[in-house]
Structures are given as structure tokens and as C-alpha cells.
């Protein structure tokens, strides 16, 4: 998979210690430049762990046991923090999940936005401010000047998330990892943010790894989809294929379980336990085999 921007090859990880359990099971993933992959799975399926592994910020209790994470030809898992620091912000950026805690309450928005610009691009504060204003306008924030001088607590959740998105795109990275960026927001705001992310991505040509547990989100903006369960890839491929012609019982069940807003009186059918049990059995069996 030489053309890919990011190529995860057989990545496995487990928790440290004698009672270690597998967290990631032989995950492979290929992300091309400018494409959007949805990494979907329920809580605990391993999405965040994959993201942390890519960024190199796995918690102390989890260790990569095999596989490679190849970004532009370099194995990220083998790099130390100093080398990673050069890639962070420049080539890979993160849009975090919780806009309430991701911004420093003691610093103005402008300062936090222009950080990277002044550090990496050597811009003067005036130049950086101008660029920051342009970014804020791009994420459709009204009164960008006021927001620039404001503190995080003065902004709503939706506005904060826009700021975080702007911050991620600031240095024009090649890859952005969006960690459930709409989960912490109101439903009404979620749609706007999704559209925003999609349009920014298209305009800047950034590759996007979109972590979510919401199939609806995936269907709307992702080109490809990788479905995780218990740290293992259960389904992978073009969105239209995977969702349009669902082969795996889990996907079928998930699709059936999604609430349909256009048919308010339709039956709500949760994923049957049998589906989970059979997946679990299969995964644990393949564990002992490998």
C-alpha cells in the first residue's frame, strides 16, 4: 500500500502486566491523501486506542505488541517524543472530543489559536492574528474579532468546537484525527459541525480519520468505513458498499437499530445479544489460535 498517506499494518496492542488483555487485535487500515475514513465502533471498541497509537500518546498501561503505523513512509511507533513533536501539529493534528476541557481556561482564544503559527511558521503576532481571524471566519464564527480576544468560558460548546477545528486546520496538516468531535454537542449543532468539517476537509484536501459511534455520521461524510469491535476489524471498505450491501450481521443489526427520524413510529430494534455473543466467541477463538 505504497500510495497511502497513513498505513496501519497488523497493529496489535495489549495492556501491560501479567494480567494483560488484548486491546487491539491485528488492525490494518489504509488512508489515502484527501480521503475520509470513518473509524466506527461502540465505546471500548478501540477507536481511541488506535488514535492514541497513531499519535504516540498511548497511556503507560498499554503497549504495542506488533505491527507498524506507517505515515509518509516512516513508522510512527518507532519514533521517540522529540521526533514525534516535529510531526505533531505540522503533519498530523487532532480535533478532540470534549470542547469544554480541551481549551485552556486561563488563556485567550487568540493566544491558543496562534500558538502553532507563531512557533512553527515564525509569524509575528500581528500576522498570526490576521491568519487566526481568517481561520475563525472559515469555521463560520460570527464576530471573529470578539472571539479572538475572548476566554473559553465566554463561548458556547459549539463555538468552542469550531475554534478547535480551526486550530487543527491552522497549520494545514496532511492528516487530521477527529475524535468524536460531535459527541459532546447538542444534536442541533452536530449537523452544522459535520458539514463544516466536510467542507473544510474538501477545501484543504486534508485526509481525515473520523472516530465515531454514530452510523448516521459515517454515512454522511465518510468515503470509507472501518468497523471495530473488541479491538478487531469486523468490516472495512467503501461506505456505500459496507452500508449499502451489509454482509456482516453486526452491520445489519446496527443499521436496523439506528433511529429513523423520518419514520418516528418505526420499531426500535436494538442489536440482539446473539450478534454480540457470536462475534465475541469468534474473536476470542482467533485470539487463542494466534
Amino acid at each position: 500500500m505504497t500510495g497511502a498517506l497513513l498505513s496501519i499494518e497488523n497493529l496489535s496492542a495489549r495492556s501491560r502486566g501479567p494480567a494483560g488483555v488484548p486491546i487491539l487485535r491485528n488492525i490494518s487500515l489504509s488512508l489515502e491523501r484527501g480521503r475520509i475514513i470513518g473509524l466506527i465502533g461502540e465505546s471500548g471498541a478501540g477507536k481511541s486506542t488506535v488514535a492514541k497509537a497513531i499519535l504516540g500518546i498511548l497511556p503507560a498501561g498499554i503497549a504495542v505488541t506488533s505491527g507498524r503505523i506507517v505515515f509518509e513512509g516512516r513508522d510512527l511507533a518507532a519514533l521517540n517524543e522529540r521526533a514525534l513533536r516535529r510531526i505533531w501539529g505540522e503533519d498530523i493534528a487532532l480535533v478532540p472530543q470534549d470542547p469544554m476541557t480541551a481549551l485552556n481556561p486561563a488563556r485567550r482564544i487568540g493566544a491558543q489559536l496562534t500558538d502553532g503559527l507563531r512557533l512553527r511558521r515564525g509569524l509575528s503576532s500581528r500576522e498570526a492574528d490576521t491568519r487566526a481571524l481568517a481561520l475563525l471566519e472559515e469555521v463560520q464564527i460570527r464576530e471573529p474579532r470578539r472571539v479572538l480576544r475572548a476566554y473559553p468560558h465566554q463561548l458556547s460548546g459549539g463555538m468552542r468546537q469550531r475554534v478547535l477545528i480551526a486550530s487543527a486546520f491552522a497549520l494545514e496538516p496532511k492528516l487530521i484525527i477527529a475524535d468524536e468531535p460531535t459527541t459532546a454537542l447538542d444534536v442541533t449543532v452536530q449537523k452544522q459541525i459535520l458539514r463544516l468539517i466536510k467542507s473544510l476537509q474538501a477545501r484543504h484536501g486534508t485526509a481525515l480519520l473520523f472516530l465515531t459511534h454514530d452510523l448516521g455520521v459515517v454515512a454522511k461524510i465518510c468515503d470509507e468505513i472501518t468497523l471495530l469491535y473488541m479491538g478487531k476489524v469486523v468490516a472495512q471498505g467503501e461506505t456505500s458498499e459496507v452500508l449499502g450491501q451489509p454482509r456482516h450481521p453486526y452491520i445489519r443489526a446496527l443499521l436496523a437499530a439506528s433511529p429513523r427520524y423520518d419514520r418516528p413510529h418505526s420499531e426500535f430494534a436494538p442489536v440482539p445479544d446473539s450478534v454480540f455473543e457470536s462475534m465475541r466467541a469468534e474473536i476470542l477463538a482467533s485470539d487463542t489460535r494466534s
Binding site: W88, L94, A102, N104, P105, R107, L119, A150, H153, Q154
Partner: protein, 336 residues
């Protein structure tokens, strides 16, 4: 507008506290067992002299009248005459206060610089041995009060390394006229560097003795706050943007950690000022602290009253400033 109301309320509270201090001092000194006049009079005084003295200090009037008399003169700045020094109390206080202020401020600056640096270092090298060493050292420093440090310095620099002057504020042979009593600042501003160096040399030990306990407390509290702040999500996000660890500590964590440290520093600073009483004594430093011990031994009531009120006023002002600073520094409080 909320802010100014709160400030005014604090000011009124402070005034009330100062008033309370005054009352307590007044009562304390009036209910002293033993006749205060006994100390004020030399031997061979006649009974008439005693009566005259008692009349002059209103000691025979009912307590309430005495209090109002004292209050009236206090509000006009007249605290009476010092019995032991035979000078106006206000004048004595004003002439000695600058020395103590210079000492206290210098100690504060040293303590903050040292304390913050130690805390930042301990946080920077969090997982390595350096942090452990700093923590243990700070723990030891914390246990030793300024009194003991002062004495230790006397031993060290008086006996083993006699490089620093052990007493006084300035070399008595340097007969230089000064306009104010802030001779450290004045000599610096007027460019008299040798004089400045001499005064500074006299200040080294008392300042260090006062500063070390405060620095240790600042280091301890700030290290804890910094470690907590470093766990925040926004620090992780800043790290992912590629900032160095030093930037993370200084730019992201420090502004959030400084609040509680500031409040504590304010409180501890008042203890530092209280510590000048004994540290000035040990180094024969001519400030108001040194004055206090003599005043008490000599039972110089007017002077004691003036001194306690002066210290009380310093405390209250410092507390007020700290409250204002803490409010100003937290954007959530000032930019609601």
C-alpha cells in the same frame, strides 16, 4: 460593577478589622498587672511627678474616656510620644518602617523567584530523580523556621565564612546623606553603586532567613498545583501541537496553577513580616521589628500600640492586595 462593590466591601471589612485590632491592643495594655508608670519614672521621683505623669497619659480616667481620647488622637495621626525613645511615635515608626519594607519586599521577591523555579524544575523533570531530590530538599527546608535560619547564618557567616556583615543596615563609616529612609532603592536610583552594594550585603542574610521558609512553601504548593494542571486535556492538546515540555509547564499549566499559590503566598507573607521581629533582632537591623522587642521589654505603651497597629495595617493591606490579585488573575472571575 459587581467588582467595585466587592472591593468596597473588602475595604470596609479591612477597616473594621483594623479597628478591632486597635481595641484589643488598647485593652491589653490597660489591663496590665503592675503600674505602668513605674517603668516610666526614674528613681528619686516625687509623688507629684507620678501624679503629673498619670495625668499626662490619662491613666486615672475611666477606661471608656481613655479609649475615646486615644481614638481621637489616633485618627489624627497622633500616637503619642515614645516613653523609652522620647520621640513622637509616628515619627519613629515612619523612620524605621522603610527598612523593614525593603527587607520584606526583597525577601518576597527572592522567595517567589526561588519557589517558582523549584516548582517548575520539579514539574519539568517529573519522572526523573531530580524531582525526587527537589521534593525531599523542599521538605527539609520547610521544617526550619526563619529564626533558626537566621541563627544558622550567624554561625556560618559569622564564624566559618566571615564574608558578610553580621549586623546593621549600612557600614557606619560610610557617611552618606540620604533623603528618604529607603536607602537601598535610593542608592540604586542615584547611581551610588558602592553604597548600594554595601547595603545589599547587609541585607543578604536577613533576607535569606526570611525568604527560605516562604520559598519552600511556594515550591511545595505550586508543584502540587502544577502536576494537577499538567493532567488537563488542554495540556495534552497543546502537547499534540508540538510544544516542548517547558512551554507546556510555563504557558499552559502555570497560569492555571498560580491561583491557589498566590492566595497562600499572601497569607504566608504576613507571617514573613511577623518574622522580621526576631530576624531584625538577630541581625541588629534597624527596622520596626527590632523596635518591637525593645518596646515590649521597656513597656513603652504608646510605641507598642503604634507598632501593633502598624503591623496590623500591613497585614490587612497585604490580604486585601492578595484578594484583589487572585480575582484579577482568574479570567472566569473578572470576565464573567
Amino acid at each position: 460593577m459587581n467588582n467595585s462593590l466587592a472591593v468596597i466591601r473588602r475595604l470596609v471589612q479591612s477597616a473594621a478589622t483594623l479597628f478591632g485590632v486597635g481595641i484589643v491592643v488598647f485593652i491589653l495594655l490597660r489591663v496590665v498587672p503592675g503600674d505602668p508608670t513605674a517603668m516610666m519614672i526614674g528613681p528619686g521621683a516625687s509623688a507629684d511627678d507620678v501624679i503629673a505623669l498619670r495625668a499626662r497619659y490619662h491613666l486615672d480616667e475611666p477606661l471608656l474616656l481613655q479609649f475615646f481620647g486615644w481614638l481621637r488622637s489616633a485618627l489624627s495621626g497622633d500616637f503619642g510620644t515614645s516613653i523609652s525613645l522620647h520621640r513622637d511615635v509616628m515619627e519613629v515608626l515612619l523612620s524605621r518602617l522603610p527598612a523593614t519594607i525593603e527587607l520584606a519586599i526583597a525577601a518576597l521577591l527572592v522567595a517567589v523567584a526561588a519557589g517558582v523555579s523549584l516548582a517548575v524544575l520539579a514539574t519539568l523533570y517529573d519522572r526523573r530523580a531530580t524531582a525526587g531530590i527537589i521534593n525531599v530538599a523542599v521538605g527539609l527546608l520547610l521544617a526550619v523556621p526563619d529564626f533558626v535560619w537566621a541563627l544558622a547564618f550567624v554561625l556560618l557567616f559569622g564564624l566559618l565564612l566571615p564574608v558578610l556583615p553580621l549586623s546593621g543596615r549600612i557600614d557606619p563609616t560610610l557617611d552618606i546623606p540620604f533623603h528618604t529612609h529607603f536607602i537601598l532603592i535610593e542608592s540604586l536610583l542615584t547611581g551610588r553603586m558602592t553604597v548600594f552594594a554595601d547595603i545589599a550585603a547587609h541585607m543578604v542574610m536577613p533576607v535569606l532567613a526570611l525568604a527560605i521558609p516562604l520559598a519552600a512553601i511556594i515550591a511545595r504548593v505550586l508543584t502540587a498545583s502544577l502536576s494537577e494542571a499538567m493532567e488537563a486535556d488542554y495540556v495534552l492538546l497543546a502537547r499534540i501541537k508540538g510544544h516542548s515540555r517547558l512551554r507546556l509547564v510555563l504557558q499552559e499549566a502555570l497560569p492555571n496553577a498560580i491561583g491557589p499559590t498566590l492566595a497562600l503566598t499572601g497569607v504566608q507573607f504576613t507571617f514573613l513580616v511577623g518574622g522580621t521581629v526576631i530576624v531584625e533582632r538577630i541581625f541588629a537591623y534597624p527596622g520596626i521589628g527590632n523596635l518591637g522587642v525593645d518596646a515590649v521589654i521597656n513597656r513603652d505603651f504608646p510605641l507598642i500600640q503604634g507598632l501593633v497597629l502598624a503591623f496590623g495595617a500591613i497585614f490587612i493591606v497585604v490580604n486585601l492586595l492578595v484578594d484583589l490579585a487572585v480575582t484579577a488573575l482568574d479570567p472566569r472571575l473578572s470576565h464573567a
